[in-house]
């Protein structure tokens, strides 16, 4: 008489169960990621607004507070004369070799500083040394980070 292979069946069931659990978990994870994204790209008349509504909840209750000390009475003295520059952050202002009066209210965000990161402009500052490897421009060896010393 040939006995049925119960062990094999049990293993098969276990494997199937594991697969199903895995599938269920990945589906749940995908749904959790996709739903907010779907809501974020919805059109205004889209019926799918549930998650976006949740994400936007409370925004009215938290007004944007601008903390800035730029309008303090900070004055810089240059060339013996006082120029009323109301930014106090000691930023360099290169202006093609000529000194310039900073008498506008906020020259950090004027037209010629469109790429200023302080203004939330599109240009980005480069990653400082040590945070990323040197660029792959063929000049550097094996990506060893630079060693810098200032004396």
């Amino acid at each position: 008489m040939v006995r049925p292979d119960w062990t094999h069946h049990t293993n098969g069931d276990t494997t199937m169960k594991k697969t199903l659990i895995l599938l269920a978990a990945t589906t749940a994870l995908s749904a959790a990621i996709a739903a907010p994204t779907w809501s974020a790209v919805r059109t205004s008349d889209s019926p799918v607004q549930l998650f976006a509504a949740i994400l936007e909840f409370g925004q009215d209750a938290m007004p944007l507070i601008l903390a800035s000390g730029d309008d303090d009475d900070d004055r810089e003295y240059r060339n013996g004369s006082r120029s009323e520059d109301d930014d106090d952050d000691r930023e360099r202002k290169y202006r093609s070799g000529s000194r310039r009066d900073d008498d506008d209210d906020d020259d950090e965000c004027d037209g010629d500083d469109q790429d200023d990161d302080d203004c939330g402009g599109s240009a980005r500052n480069a990653a400082p040394a040590g945070t990323t490897p040197p660029p792959q421009n063929g000049l550097f060896g094996n990506g060893t980070p630079p060693v810098v010393q200032m004396n």
């Binding site: 930023e91 360099r92 202002k93 290169y94 202006r95 093609s96 070799g97 000529s98 000194r99 310039r100 500083d113 790429d115 200023d116 990161d117 240009a123 980005r124 500052n125 480069a126 990653a127 400082p128 040394a129 040590g130 945070t131 990323t132 490897p133 040197p134 660029p135 421009n137 063929g138 000049l139 550097f140 060896g141 094996n142 990506g143 060893t144 980070p145 630079p146 060693v147 810098v148 010393q149 200032m150 004396n151």
Partner: protein, 156 residues
């Protein structure tokens, strides 16, 4: 055991040329006492034809001032991707910036030239402040800058 030895030999053979193709090079820039704020410096390389080959270092972190490093800016259009990971602080008057980089051997004795553009707040921009051919013979020989750089040396 035989396969392990073969693997070790192969990895060693692949690694050694990589190590031999680059060497640590120290770039030392000493600034004059020019009486201004910290200088922005762009150190970059051009090939034998004078075409921009790549950047080695940017002293100064704010991209909005890079246009004053005019030759570098013209060559790169101010692309900060060129200087990711090789950007540091600006260099004050009278101070010395010492950078050690792992540079490819192919840079030396192959017609490449190192350039330094300099700019200082409220002072004149100085493109091509320093220009020095990259040769093994030239290593350790100080080169004088035009306006802000007292001298520049590369050592291997």
């Amino acid at each position: 055991m035989k396969s392990l030895l073969a693997t070790l030999a192969l990895t060693t053979a692949l690694t050694l040329p990589g190590l031999a193709m680059a060497r640590p090079v120290t770039l030392t820039t000493t600034m004059n006492n020019y009486g201004g704020d910290g200088a922005y410096l762009a150190l970059y390389v051009t090939d034998a034809a004078g075409a921009y080959a790549g950047s080695l270092w940017m002293a100064g972190g704010k991209s909005k001032y890079y246009e004053h490093l005019s030759d570098w800016y013209r060559a790169t259009a101010g692309d900060t991707a060129q200087i990711n990971g090789i950007t540091g602080a600006s260099v004050g008057a009278g101070r010395t910036l010492e950078i050690t980089l792992d540079l490819a051997d192919t840079l030396f004795d192959a017609g490449y030239t190192l350039h330094i553009d300099a700019a200082v707040e409220d002072m004149r921009d100085s493109p091509n402040e320093v220009t020095v051919p990259l040769t093994t013979d030239g290593a350790g020989t100080p080169v004088t800058g035009r306006r802000y750089v007292a001298d520049f040396t590369y050592d291997m």
